[in-house]
Structures are given as structure tokens and as C-alpha cells.
Amino acid sequence: MTAIAIERQGVSLPGQRQQTLSLTYHRLMLMMLVFAGVTTLIVARILYLSVFSDRADTGAVGNPLLPARGDIIDRNGVPLARTIDAWSIAVHPKKLLGDPAELAVKLNELMPEKSAAEYLSLLKSDKTFVYLSRRAMPELVAAVNALGEPGIAFDREPERLYPNLELAAHVVGYTDLDGKGAAGIERAFDKQMSDPATRGEPIQLSIDARVQQALEAELLAAMHKFSAIGAAGVIMDVKTGEVLAMSSLPELNPNVPGKGSMDARFNRITLGVYELGSTFKPFTVAMAMDAGVVKSLGQMYNCSSGLRAGGFTITDTHPFNRACSVSEIMQESSNIGTAQIAAQLGAERQKEFLKKMGFLDRVEIELMERGRTLTPGNDWGEVATMTVGYGHGIAVTPLHLASGYAALFNGGIWHPATLLKTGKNRPVPAGRRVFSEDTSYKMRALLRLVVTHGTGKKADAPGYRIGGKTGTAEKIVGGRYTGASVVTTFAGVFPMDEPRYVVVAMLDDPKSTAETYGFHTAGWNVAPVISKVVSRVGPMLGVQPSTSRDANLAEVLPFIRGD
């Protein structure tokens, strides 16, 4: 580089002229500095534009590295939601050059959703800018462009794409037309996904797309087979509370959420509250064992006849008509027996346990669609305690149930459910102890017994040691229970010798078929779903099938009396 010093050598000029020249050289260099300064300013402005031009319409293309909205991926990196560039077609009515009447007819031919008259009134309106079509297909853009009207403007705008269509739709959610999260993770993490500082990093869910697909497929098949109006299912890691799959049917395509019915947009797993019936019984038994009310799985209760409680009689579908053990109560799902255990436990201790399991509050998860549970409230007397004991008079979400089962089988510690993958960056949130380890251990054999010898036989999948509990609850229609319409649930856990995953499946209003011999109870319609789902997801989750390992049934079999 040349030094900008005014030092001349070997030149002899008259003093005056030399002085003028040196002034000129000074000013020449000043001028150059001004030029350099303005050039620097322009370059800085260009760099500024390239990094910070974060306007809605140029954000996506202005900075190729930063998406207009953050991606959502599953636990293995499979994209569940991403943003692509789409087209919008708009018109500047005041800048039109052509004949509006002619143009309106042509627009109607290309975009028949509005009549030519409607287009004409748009084109003649006083507005400066009107959208004609958003998220337009490239062919439509080309066709409208070919009309050659300079008053029509085309613009790129970011569009949210859900490449897996219905998969995990209720978890991922969807955005509204303005690109703001309207449901699911899209709504819950809207700020994080739209903030330029954080949206570069995708949101990684705990969902496993493969597991999700298996659960959805089996639920859908069962829903159609039994003509149910809806179905729901959730698979959860018992140790971390991570939700690996969560499905609510009927299906919803988040790419076109407006086309889904209200029912399809409804998330039955987190927003729907149901009386989940007999799936509650294991909680009652575990509470009683923890409280010292039930000291042995062989403890006997009188199940000889219907139990009078308040103004009605508690009955059983498979009456014993004799005294029966706790193991037998669970195996045959006896309301009479469970009601007595609950009565012994008492309302206060029952409430305390339910509170610790989060059953009295909104379910804990990242989503904002969370239903308020229904409980006996101030009428929590002995009768309510008995009915709550076998899952009636209390309505919770299926996710409450899954979290409760996770706590029941992971050694007794309750964790809030989460949809975000835990790992190095996200430790498992601290839990709280609900049941003792001993109680948790004893429940394994008890619920394995239900599948091997009791009401849940159809839930078994060879080698996967499934345990669980059926539940059939009558739906309240017009304020009273009717036998016609039920919600059937199965809450399963596998493998029962070392529990790792909870699988909850639910069918809303399944009908009986010839195959089920006229029954519409959980053991007939929803238990087989568990068997099929576990057979499919077991290998994906790395659970090794084994015929030699199993829960220790010797702990419960002695208390079963063969008739």
C-alpha cells in the first residue's frame, strides 16, 4: 500500500506553488478517505442486509441458513414439521392496467372459488392490496402470471409443511394462515420456533415416528373394526415420562386443519376426560398395600353378593358369589371387592394418593390442550370413595392414566409426562415418590396375572410379558349411565419382569361384533390392540422377546382358587 504522507523529495518549486500543491495533495487524500468511507458504508449496509434482513417476506430466502420457522423432528431426527417457500398471489387494484371485467372472468376461470362478480368488486375496490390466493401451486402462479396484468403481484411466503401427513398430528399440531402456532407443539413452542435467536435449532420430540405409526395403524384398524366413533393411544417410557407415541382418532391432516372436523381436531389423550373404569383398580390395590390396609395379595374379601352403597348396589360382571382374594379381585376385575378395599383405605388417603399422581389437576405435559379432570369434589364421601376405587365418578385424561401406570411400575416415582426428548441437554425432570418400591414390585405379578389368567388374555403378545388391566366404563348420555355406549380402555405395561413401557389404548363407543359374541367390553376389543401394538413396537424399542423370563407369578397363583 502506498503511504499517504505528504513528503516530497527532490522537487524545487517556487515556495507559493509548492504550498498550493501540497494543499491539493492533502485534499486529494481527504477526498479519497471520503470515498473509502462511503464505500465502506455501502458494504456495511449490504452485509447488514444480508444478515439482518428479517422481514416476513425475505426472511426465508434472505438468510439461507435460518428457517422462517423452526423445524420439529422426532427423537431420531425424522422431520415432522418444516417450512418451505410457497407463493401468494395478490392484486394492487389501483395499479391495474387491463380491463377489470375481462380480468375478473379470467381469474374466475383459474380460481373458481370466487365468482367473476366477486373478483370484479375486488378489482374495483379502493384497497391498495388484496390477496387473491395464498399457498398457491406453482402451476396456478404461472397461469395467473400469463394473464400479463402488471397489477397482479406474486410473492414468496413461508408455508408450513407436515411431510408425514396425519402422523402424530395432535402432538405436532398446526399453524394458522398467518403462520402462528394454533395447536399442539406448534402452539406450545410458538415463541421458540419463531424467534430468530432460537428457531435455527429444531425442536426434538420424544416421539418415535416408527412407534407412532404402529400405534396409529392398530388403533385405526380397531376403530373401524368395532365401528367406534374415536380411539386414542399413548406409549410412554416408565422411567423418564417421555411420550414415544400419542395418537387421537379420527385422523387429522395438519396440512389442511380446516378440513378436519371439530372431533378430529380434538386431542383425546390430553384434552378428553373419561371415566376410565377398572383400569383404576390397580391404583386402589397399590394405595391399600402402601397404606398397610392390604397386607397380602391373599387377603380375603366378601364377594358373595352385591354391595349396597348409598342408594344403589355395586355388582360384578363375573360374580364370585363367595369370598375372594385380592389376586382374584384383580384377575376377574371385581367391583365389589375393590369397593371394599377403597372403603377401608378411606377418602382422605385416596385423595392424597390421587393428588400425588396429579389426577386432581390438569395433566402435566408441554401441550396447551389439557383437560380439567372431574372428581367428586366436596361430595367425596364413602360411596364416592368406593366408586372412585374402581374408576367411576372420576374422569381423567388417558395421559393421566399412562403417567399413573408409569409411576406404579417404575418403582413408585411419578414423573410429569414430556414430549421433549430427554438426554444430555434435557435431564429427566425430578419426580416424586407415590408408592413404595415394594408395592411397585408386587404389582408386577398381579397385573401379569390379569393377562395370563384374567380379563386381559387377548392383550398378550408372545414373548413380551405384557401385564395390564382392562376397563370398560359406561358413557354418560343425557345425564345417566346407559349400557349401550361404553369407553373401553386397556392400560398395559411391558416387559413385566422389568417394566419399561406403558401402553394405553382406548376405544370410544365400540360396537359388538359376531367375533366378540355380542360383547363390547375392553377384553374383547381394545386388549387385542395392545397385543398387536406391542408385537410391532417391541423390536423397535429394543425389548427382547423371551419365553424364559417373566414376572414371578408364584407370588399370586397360590391365591387363585380354580373353580
Binding site: T24, M29, M32, F35, A36, R45, S53, T58, A153
Partner: protein
Amino acid sequence: MDAPPSRKAQTARLGRSDRSALGKWFWEIDRVLLMLVVVLISIGLIAVAAASPAASQRYSGGAVSFAPLHYFYRQLVWIIVAFPVMIGVSMLPKTVARRLCLIGAGIFTFFLFLVPIIGQEVNGARRWIGVGFTQFQPSEFLKPMFIVSMAWLLSLRDQDKSLPVVPLSALMLGIVALLLMRQPNFGETIIFGAAWVILLTLSGVPMRFLIGLGAAGIIAIVLAYLFYPVATTRIDAFLFADAGNHDTYQTDSALRTLTAGGLFGTGPGGGTRKFHLPEPHTDYIFSVIGEEFGLIACIAIAAIYMTIVARVLIKLLHEEDTFLLLATAGLVTQFGLQALINMAVNVQIAPSKGMTLPFISYGGSSMLALSIGFGLLLAFTRRNPYLHRSPYVVRGK
């Protein structure tokens, strides 16, 4: 005795011993400067090719329909005409060049007088004179010649201190400015005025005179804003863009086009925003380059203009002839200023002016005017490479 080998046989073509006119020119010309302008013209040709479809689409309509590359081919033809003119001018002896400029300045000032009478109106301004197949703006041709004439006038002071050169030059500028404002042509007036101020500055007028001039300039701009409708709308649109009562559609779409390609651009022909630009091939060609070739290309172009200006100004540090110093500095700063203003408008740090990017914008006849101007610059920077050594080179090792 053997005859000595003929002189011709010893002389390699364009070698250092070549004493022909071309040989001397080759050794005297600033070849780096020549190369830089060739690079600029090449970039311009590519950029016009990119902008041509957008411009053709914009100006087609009704009975007139332009082929997509219409402007590209016209630009190519003009370059084929203009480049030899530049080389020819650069070969002129300096005194001849000066004399021709003085004559030319007179002729084009006369044309400027004629514009209101025989001129053609384009976009609400009467700036053009038609000559059969094309039309030209006399002010474009006047610009370099005016600067050279000014430089000559101001350099006369060296011979006779008593000459009232400053008032004379101000009178000349006043006449030209008046004619330009009548067209109206705000941007060109500013360029002429700026060139005059730069020449005065370099000719060594006292600082307080320059400060007074600056104050007068500010007052002039305020007056223009108040009483000159073209200036009012342009300045309003820039300053109060957010108020929404002015149409910023043009400048907004220019900025959107500029950034649409990111750092590396959409690639040649990949741009889509350019079709929404007014004047994509002239005023806003910088934005088209931004979209198709990326912001890095824009930075590179800014760097080339800066290099040209810096190279010439540094070279002038060992020029002692007042006329050459003033003329060269005037020509190169006018050239650089025009580029800076155009780029500043495109990146929205200056109000819209209607100014082209030298050698890059599509220009037609103005390409010829630019070539004459740059040819003069090359002629005035021609130097015997052995005559001077710059004392400003850092000595080391």
C-alpha cells in the same frame, strides 16, 4: 564491414524499444486502470443480460414487444462502438484532448439549450435529443468536457493570479444547472455541482470559502425541497417512508430484489423479483445483480469502483501539472460519485435520484459518453513509466 542490423529488426512489437505511436501508448497507458474498466464493462454486459428480460417485459405492451434479450444486444452493439472510441480518446495527446474538450463543451452546451425546443419527453422529463436511430442526452456528453474545461479555467490561475476564474466557473455552472433544472434533471445537477466543488477544493481555494459553499448548498437543497416539486417528492419519499402517504413501492421492491438472492444469489436467470422492478436495466441494475449473483458480487463491484478511484487519486500525488491534476481528479471523482450514489440509492441509504451505474447500467448513447470520459481519464493518466518514481512508495527491505 558489415552493415549494422536494421533498427526495425531489433524492435519487438510493443516491446520497450518500440517507438511507434501504439508502442508508446501501450507503455504509457495505465494498464491496470484499463483492465479494471474492461472488467466493469464485462460485468455490465452480464448484468444487462440478467436485467434485459425484466426490462423487456416492462416496456413491451400494446403494439411494441421487445425480445427478452433486446437490451443485451443493444448494449453489446454500443460497447462495440464505444470501446474503440475510449481507446482512441486515450491516445490523444493531452493538449489536443484539452482543446477538443473545450470545443465539445461549447457544442453540447448549445445542444442543452436546444433540448427544451427539440427534445423528446420521456417519463415527464425532457432530456433527450433524437438523432434518427437513437437519442442522446447532451448533459451526459457535456459532463466530462465540462469538467476538463473547468480544470483548464481554474489552472489558468497559475499563470495569472488576477484572473477571476472562480466567478467565471460559477457562472458556467449556473448556466448549465439552470438548463438542467428546466428539464428537470435533479440528479445530474447535483453531479455537475459536486464536480465543480471538488475542482474548487483541489485548486486550493481557502477553507472558509468551501464552508460558505457548503452552507449555500444546504440552503439550495432546502430551497429545492420547498420550491422544486421533483426534489420535494423524492426527499419526502425517502425521509417519510414510514408515514405511508408516499409511494415507496419502487424503492421497497428494489431492496427486496437486492436481498432476495442472499449472499450467493439465485444464479443467472434465477431471479424473479427483478420483474417487479422499475428500470431494472438502468437505475436498479445493482439490485438485479444482488438477486442473481448475490450480495458478495455487489460488494465486489463496490470494491472495483473504489479501486479505480483510489488508484487514480494516489497516482495524482506525483502529478505537478495543475490542469492535469484537476482534470483527472474531476473526471474520476465524478465517475466514482455517480457509482456511489447509484449504489447508495439501491441499498436505501440515499433518496432515489435516477442515476445510472457507470459502465454497468444499460446506457445506449450514454455508454459512448462514459467511454469518452474514461478515455480522457486514461489519456490524462498516461505517463512515461521511467520519468517519475513515486516518492510515496513505502521503502522497505
